[in-house]
């Protein structure tokens, strides 16, 4: 998972730098060190995005459980009171 995220991120970073050079009508590989920086930043970004996505899903589960519990307290508790 980390390897594929790193590879995709590096590709994205490289692509971004090449696209940026192309927009400025420069040779695609001008200043190749910028492409290396782009690949590094892209790899870091992709890995962090994947980790953040996992954390987001966990936090979302916590929030949904909280909402479910609040609804059960409100509606099932009410039903229990009425039946009493």
């Amino acid at each position: 998972m980390a390897l594929s995220a790193t590879m995709v991120g590096a590709l994205l970073g490289l692509g971004t730098q090449m696209y940026s050079n192309a927009l400025r009508k420069l040779p695609y590989m001008r200043h190749p060190w910028e492409h290396v920086v782009g690949m590094g930043l892209g790899a870091v970004f992709a890995n962090q995005l994947v980790k953040w996505d996992v954390k987001l899903k966990e936090d979302l589960e916590v929030m949904l459980d909280k909402a479910r519990a609040a609804n059960e307290r409100r509606y099932f508790g009410l039903a229990r009171c009425k039946s009493d």
Binding site: Y19, L23, R24, K25, D53, L56, D59, L60, M63, A67
Partner: protein, 488 residues
């Protein structure tokens, strides 16, 4: 454990940075020793750095966000919704500032106050997003709006800019007055300005029979004030003139940043504070009218900026679909819609700024762009196809989710109008593509190379627009969290 200082440190930092940059600008720009240097770029870079540091402080200072916290006499709230909206706003501001640097050089624009006012308005918008009281909300709106009135007129030698600033001031002040009148009527009828108290009083007020003309008029006036600010029909008249007359970076900023903060406010006030059939009908009508007018009026435009202004009005209509639903899915689709709209608009205005150097003002001037700069023409085409909602681009995803949210809550007519106006909108978006690839311009314009900031911004936003559909999961999860945290 909630730490108040960490929670408000980003706002404190950006206010201090704004004032320090103002003093720096005033002292050095009037300095005879340094030969009265133009400081717009210098202050611009420092301003961009301040925004990025604020973003880092916000990200680093986040507590456990499944719990909401109220602070400063319960006037402000920090939760998931606030956190992500503020991060998104700061990213948009950073993107907009990065587009400006070449503009300062090309147009010989040496007003450093421009950046200071952008930072001050950003600060106002940060407070707007976290406001949890009508008074705090209004003060933050005014802080944001007053800065906008001035930056709209910042190009002092241009009568169009002065006209835009004056129009914006008059209409903005009018809408702020209506908003305040609505707040005062709500306060007069309920005795409350805090959103928690208003939620307890106003929830279901139309059903329980606790009707009051004061409450109804108050909510109506607040809705009208907000609709003015987001340029929804029928309160949209100011937008095309002001977007066209203002300097292009200002137009970019006006199209993106205030919509984020004002929609955040609308969700807090109306979804949490009060939501009833009347409000839903108002937003239904405004959504349908905005989509129809945005589609039809844009067809008649000959200038690029006016076309983007009407396109923005149309997109506000699509985004209001999410609000009109009143469901969690609706709010989630609204937030997805705003995020994607902001990135597409940043892309579009970065291209307009790049072309502006070659004095492209009319749509007809875009002719043969595919021959002079094919990559830029392809980027513009991708942006236009995304605006039109053509798959597999990000714009399609946002419209898809909005229409499905509308279908999910039974608003079939809303979804139908959305689809039909999207098809009509394709005409003028694809007309731009046709001009670039198949037409020749009236006068051939020499290409001038764009700067690195714009090219990097364009590359990143274009990749997002193109590749979003491959990995939409983070945006879906974060917007779901934001929607839930409005209720929890």
């Amino acid at each position: 454990m909630f730490n108040l200082f960490l929670a408000v440190f980003p706002e404190i930092f950006i206010i201090n940075a704004t004032f320090i940059l103002l003093i720096h600008g005033v002292v050095f720009s009037t300095s005879k020793k340094y030969d009265y240097p133009p400081l717009a770029s210098n202050v611009g870079w420092l301003g961009l750095l301040s925004v990025l540091i604020t973003l880092l402080l916000l990200a680093a200072g986040a507590p456990l966000l499944t719990i909401a916290h109220l602070f400063w006499n319960n006037l402000f709230r920090r939760d998931n919704f606030t956190y992500f909206c503020q991060i998104f706003l700061l990213l948009s501001t950073a993107g907009t500032i990065s587009m400006c640097f070449d503009f300062f050089d090309q147009e010989r624009f040496d007003a450093f106050e421009f950046i200071v006012l952008i930072l001050l308005s950003t600060c106002g918008m940060l407070f707007m997003i976290s406001a949890y009281d009508l008074i705090a909300m209004y003060l933050a709106i005014e802080l944001q709006s007053l800065c906008f009135y001035v930056i709209a007129a910042s190009k002092r030698k241009s009568e169009f800019s002065t006209e835009a600033g004056l129009k914006y001031l008059i209409l903005g002040a009018f809408s702020s007055g209506i908003l305040l009148f609505g707040c005062s009527m709500i306060y007069g009828s309920t005795g409350a300005t805090h959103f928690d108290q208003l939620a307890k009083i106003l929830t279901g007020y139309e059903i329980t029979g606790a009707r009051s003309s004061g409450i109804f008029m108050g909510i109506l006036f607040i809705a009208v004030g907000f609709l003015f600010k987001i340029t929804a029909v029928p309160f949209h008249m100011w937008a095309p003139d002001i977007y066209e007359g203002s300097p292009t970076p200002v137009t970019a900023f006006l199209s993106i940043a205030p919509k984020i903060s004002i929609f955040a406010n609308i969700l807090r006030v109306f979804i949490y504070g009060s939501y009833g059939a009347t409000l839903q009908q108002i937003f239904f009508f405004c959504s349908i009218a905005s989509m129809i007018l945005g589609a039809l009026a844009a067809m008649a435009q000959t200038k690029v900026k006016r076309l983007l202004a009407y396109s923005s009005i149309g997109h506000v209509g699509y985004i209001c679909i999410g609000f009109s639903c009143g469901t969690i899915e609706g709010i989630q689709s609204l937030l997805i819609g705003i995020f994607i709209y902001a990135l597409m608009t940043m892309d579009a205005f970065a291209i307009v700024l790049a072309l502006r150097q070659t004095r492209v003002k009319y749509i007809a001037d875009l002719g043969a762009l595919a021959k002079t700069n094919p990559i830029l023409a392809i980027t513009f085409s991708i942006t236009m196809f995304s605006y039109a909602g053509i798959p597999p681009l990000a714009g399609f995803c946002s419209k898809f989710y909005l229409f499905f949210a509308a279908l999910g809550c039974g608003a079939y007519f809303l979804a139908l109008v959305g689809v039909v106006t999207s098809v009509i909108g394709c005409f003028y978006y694809i007309r731009l593509v046709k001009r670039m690839f198949f037409d020749t311009p009236r006068t051939w314009i020499l290409y001038e190379p764009m700067d690195r900031n714009k090219s990097l911004l364009l590359a990143m936003t274009s990749f997002f627009i193109t590749l979003f559909l491959l990995y939409p999961s983070p945006l879906f999860s974060v917007t779901h969290q934001m929607a839930l945290s409005l209720y929890l």
